[in-house]
Symmetry: C2
Subunit: 334 residues, 2 copies
């Protein structure tokens, strides 16, 4: 099942069911108004939404209308939690190596994670509004999931049953502000402005065999100003699967329904080609490209995003269909 939140002037928007091929949609009115409601009462409400979804796919939903991603807010426009992992160790290794820092042993056994702000999440086509280009504006293409069944001390192996929905995320980063914030050792506030999410959130069954071992085995396509810069595989190099990320958040806390957990920037290991290290899959964030340039040539050549720049993030299923719809954002001066 695929769900989206349509803009209606309210803070939480209006829940819609979207057809598998993303061509049509139908208001969930009469079942639920908001996605958080559904997450709070999944057992009762989701079968009703599933029925509507099937009618919609069969062309039998009475008041179906063409689906327009431009109308979408984030599936959860404000959420009670956004905890973002950094599960692709290649990303961490590259960024650390470029900065001349070692990767601590612990990073290979314990997931990295930061707590993000979740009161103002962006829709897939919302502008990335930043006051100053000098902040070092970057995108981060990621997978994210929404937890339904709450709990504390969830074992990584049991965590999959807590996953209700999957989405794409653009975890926008302000690199120059992050550089200063990490020195506080208390984490990221200003360096992580609002994160954007894909038009639709989908139940794991929509991924078929691509959802396996707690990982999404799809290619994440990232384009910057219309040019494809990343075709990274989201499955194989995800060192910590989503179950481990959920278990990490839930180790000392009771995690509640509607919490969003992110994978971190999707990133693949490099390969040795003709005596030189190469990263043929490209990149899902500019910081990584700059790290590669620094490692290979001593200095970064690629600048961060400018006002007017665009980024597009999307993933396609085995059938060639866009699974989540595309995140497509423009950087604008705040």
């Amino acid at each position: 099942m695929k769900l989206a939140t349509y803009r209606d002037g309210s803070r939480d928007g209006q829940l819609v069911v979207v057809s598998r091929d993303l061509s049509t949609a139908h208001y969930a009115t009469g079942i639920a108004d908001r996605l958080q409601q559904v997450l709070d009462d999944w057992g009762f409400l989701s079968p009703q939404l599933q029925d509507l979804y099937e009618a919609l796919n069969g062309g039998k939903a009475r008041h179906a209308f063409p689906f327009d991603p431009q109308m979408c807010m984030a599936p959860l426009p404000r959420a009670y939690q956004w905890a973002d992992g950094s599960a692709y160790l290649n990303h961490v290794e590259l960024v650390r190596a470029a900065g001349g820092a070692e990767v601590p042993e612990r990073f290979y056994t314990e997931p990295l994670m930061y707590q993000g702000g979740s009161d103002d999440l962006l829709g897939p086509c919302d502008d990335i509004r930043v006051a100053d280009e000098a902040f070092g504006i970057d995108f981060e293409g990621e997978l994210a999931l929404v937890i339904g069944k709450p709990g504390r001390h969830i074992a990584a192996a049991d965590a999959m049953q807590h996953v209700r929905l999957l989405m794409l995320a653009n975890d926008v980063s302000l690199r120059q502000l992050i550089a200063a914030e990490v020195e506080t050792r208390l984490g990221l506030v200003q360096g992580k402005p609002s994160t954007a999410f894909s038009p639709v959130a989908v139940t794991p069954d929509e991924l078929g065999e691509a959802w396996q071992d707690g990982r999404v085995h799809l290619t994440l396509q990232v384009s910057w100003n219309g040019r494809k810069v990343g075709l990274c595989e989201a499955g194989p190099d995800m060192r910590f699967h989503f179950g481990q990320l959920i278990a990490h958040v839930a180790r000392t806390r009771n995690v509640r329904a509607g919490s969003i957990v992110g994978s971190g920037t999707v990133s693949n290991h490099g390969v040795d080609q003709g005596g030189r290290r190469d990263w043929p899959k490209g990149y899902s964030c500019i910081a990584e490209k700059r790290a590669i340039e620094t490692i290979l040539d001593g200095a970064p050549r690629t600048d961060y995003m400018r006002f007017g720049d665009t980024v597009r993030i999307e993933a396609f299923g085995a059938d060639g269909q866009s699974v989540f719809g595309a995140i497509e954002q423009r950087v604008a001066k705040a």
Copy 2:
């Protein structure tokens, strides 16, 4: 006006208005069910709650009942944001000095802040449930506020008009886990389990002259196992006022109604007494006591909390009345 959230088996509880002296309460039914609703529509709903509050104080509310803090959830049992500052530099100086680290210059001009989890906030009398005493269980007595009017790029001087409610907080900390987490440079997840809040949240006018310059000029009383360990003044040594803390969160993001911002552990500067440095006001967290012991005697003598330990945090107005009611929690094995 004083507001609380009564436990009713639901995730968000039931909004009640509480009398100034905390003796009686009245359901806000008919006006609003949940506090977040009120924050989303403050201009319309708060005058109605204020009328009920005045009737309650005058003994004229029809269905008033005795107020019981044990029935309270956090005023916002789940919130869209919990961003906690560390605005009392003495706390930072002590903890750094004990660890042999300098305080960077930047810490005197830019507030320190971490993003906390906000999906599972604790009521004033809820147990602090921790799996292992070896995690280094600590309390942190703090002031916190709830933002009502949302915004981005809020100037510190304008931020006061965004403050809707004030509360006390116990920002529970697991010191041994924090020690490992700060090394990730991405902030705190496992080291900060659920934060607890006072029985009532109060509008700033309830503080009278004690609410000045964006600071709460009251004494924060902290007792550990029934023994008073802290009588710190919350006003004078708060290096960054709440307006500056709000401006810090809102620098690169749009901050939404219902966001909670914390002061950090209330802490007063030491004084020189008889040739020896002393901190006569005591402490609002054990880490600080241990830092003082380390500075004076080379090693900490005070252990962190044990299962069964209790902590009580409260503040009294000029009239001797408890302003927010007391946070009174026990540590229990999870």
